[in-house]
Amino acid sequence: MRRSLSVLALSAALAVLAGCSDDGGQVRSEGGGSGSGSTGSGSGLSASDLGTQSSNQDVTAATNQYRTYVQGEVTALRAAAKKFTDAVRAGNVAEAKKQYAPSRVSWERIEPIAGLVEEIDVAVDARVDDFAGVDDPKWTGWHKLEYLLWKKNTTAGGAALATKLDTDLATLDTRLKTVDITPKAVALGAGALIEEVSEGKITGEEDRYSRTDLWDFAANVEGSKAAYTVFKPILAAKNPTLTTALDSGFTAVEGSLKPYQVAGGGYQSYTALKPADKTRMQAQLAALSEELAKVPAALGVA
């Protein structure tokens, strides 16, 4: 959420501040950049500050492929969200509860990229921790609706929030069409998604009322893998040890999630997660994060 986006925005901004243009993935034998005094702040960035495109054609092609993936996900996201918001507006609590988790899947897959549009991220996906309390009128989006549905068992007061969610996602759609999705953002995004799982999903903080955390968990992993997959042929040629490690890393995490899948799609409640499985997933996610941290350097976009 806001976290991953600020990290990405910051790094992109710093790349610009430090004046590091891409050199096409050539090996540099010495570190540059020492003596740069500015640390920059993450605030006040516009989308146009987000790094540079690569002069490596393969990397550029892969990044374009990922952009297409993002567009597909945004389209799916708006449709799925509409089912959810329609149910809220219709006052159908049961149906709204059913549509809540599916409505978030595409969002969670592209979260770090979607998060580049910062005000939308905050409007749609902030948790109550970012506000004074549950009654803070500035708190909007999925989790506010989640709170109403599960904690209050009502859609009362939800219609306006639902409509705002639709509008915000429409804005996201428009804005993402003009955001410059750089290879670096995609490469870092793959790692950021797994950090998200390690920090927020595995703990059960994300969907604390609905307990649908494992849906988000799985979607984050899918999104990370999608980003990795577009770069995989390039990585495999440069560093096959890394792609082997990444492949088995993803396989391990997917294998741990599998027993929690339910027939007809989706995942069991977070409360079903066995402590021993959670511990094993923690290690698998952490190990995967270590490998993903090597991807930007291996692509020459760090």
Partner: protein, 419 residues
């Protein structure tokens, strides 16, 4: 949700360092060579450990004079089988050897995350010690090690007065790190964890401190625990190798052969109700412990180094029969040869829900037989000092034998040569 300063830092540095190179650039040995950022965490030389380094018949951190800072880190092993577990021990042992012997961290391409976290860059004398031990749970049905379990090793049961919190108790492994400053322990912990990400998950963590004697002397100490009493006075002489062979190091006794050179480790994280203690009269405090608070002398004498005498005080007129030290060690034939080597640390963890200080003693003792510890615990059961104490965590572990030669590593004798 909250942004992580650490992560930001590393990303920002990544960005500053410019575009990536592919793969690792090995700068053999010379950590500071070649790459401009080496001192800001790029490859910083892990500073040499004092004294003998990693190798030795026994691990470091048991007999040695304690360092001022300690960190107890208990881990759960998630390896699926024994083969993977054996590899994890090899990696872990190698990482500890690197840290303790001052092996420089590899200097990597600056586009990559640096091999070392940089926390100790330019620190030349960290005074690191590391002691790795295994808990009873490692010998459950996961790895087929049951036949190799040290005979007396069990999951620590609820003992006297306990309120064990499962989130702060037991573990497949325990790593006790010690150093001159807290960051020495944290540096090593992060290195070890990074090396074993896929294999070990932190189960509980307790940082701790003490004030070791500048010049250790038998029968005397300047270290005080948070009750304000000298702690360690009556410890056996750790410099007496023959005595340590009997009291501390496990050998024979029907134990599996691999245990030779190891020791049983009892860890008790004991909360002290310090506000209440500070309201107890001095005479009362001294009667509860059995020693004078100021001098550390036993109530039966006037100097700290004097051995307590109970034979001429059968009714407990000088030293109450239920004083801590009298119960712990009545100093008669029944306890001779079963003395524990106590190596505890103090800790402070903030405040509890009632607004009371959460402080205490991370009691650690080493003994050749766990029975020696259990017998002392039995004698202490119901002691009046319990009113001020609440054991909340810890566990029983077995400290692995040391590593003496090339090709050996911590846990090798435990894990190899099995069907």
């Amino acid at each position: 949700m909250s942004s992580s300063a650490g992560r930001r830092g590393s990303l920002s540095r990544r960005a500053f360092l410019g575009t990536a190179a592919v793969g690792a650039v090995a700068v053999g040995g010379a950590a500071a060579g070649g790459i401009a950022v080496a001192t800001s965490g790029g490859g910083g030389a892990a500073p040499a450990a004092p004294g003998r380094g990693f190798r030795g018949e026994h691990q470091l951190g048991v007999l040695e004079q304690p360092a001022p800072h300690g960190l107890l880190a208990a881990f759960t092993c998630v390896d699926p089988d024994r083969e993977t577990l054996a590899r994890t021990f090899r990696e872990l042992s190698d990482e500890l050897e690197g840290l303790l012997s001052g092996r420089p961290a590899a200097a990597l391409d600056p586009a990559l995350p640096p091999a070392d976290n940089g926390v100790l860059d330019e620190v030349t004398d960290p005074g690191l010690m590391a002691t790795l031990s295994v808990g009873a749970s490692l010998f459950d049905d996961r790895y087929g090690l049951a036949a190799r379990k040290p005979r007396e090793l069990v999951t620590m049961p609820f003992l006297a007065n306990d309120r064990l919190d499962p989130r702060r108790s037991h573990g497949d492994l325990l790593l006790v790190l010690q150093g001159k400053e807290p960051d020495v322990c944290l540096h090593a912990l992060r290195r070890v964890m990074r090396r074993t990400r896929a294999n070990l998950v932190l189960h509980w963590l307790q940082d701790a401190f003490t004030r070791p004697d500048a010049k250790p002397r038998v029968g005397q100490t300047q270290s005080r625990n948070l009750l304000g009493f000298k702690d360690g006075t009556a410890n056996p002489d750790a410099g007496d190798a023959e005595l340590m062979r009997r009291l501390v190091w496990t050998a024979g006794g029907g134990e599996p052969a691999w245990t030779a050179g190891g020791t049983y480790q009892a860890v008790r994280v004991v909360r002290m109700l310090v506000e209440r203690w500070d309201r107890a009269g001095l005479t009362e405090q001294e009667a509860l412990i059995g020693r004078h608070k100021g001098s550390g002398a036993p109530l039966s004498g006037t100097a700290e180094s004097e051995a307590p005498r109970y034979d001429d005080d059968p009714d407990g007129e000088r030293t109450p029969l239920d004083a801590h030290i009298r119960l712990a060690n009545p100093r008669d034939a029944s306890t001779r040869g079963t003395e524990l080597l106590r190596r505890g640390f103090s800790y402070s963890r903030g405040i509890d829900g009632a607004g009371l200080l959460d402080q205490g003693l991370a009691f650690i003792s080493y003994q050749s037989r766990l029975a020696h510890f259990l017998a002392a615990t039995d004698r202490l059961r119901g002691e009046p000092l319990e009113e001020y104490l609440l054991p909340e965590g810890g566990g029983f572990f077995f400290v692995l034998p040391g590593v003496t030669r090339d090709g050996d590593h911590l846990g090798r004798s435990l894990l190899t040569g099995m069907p």
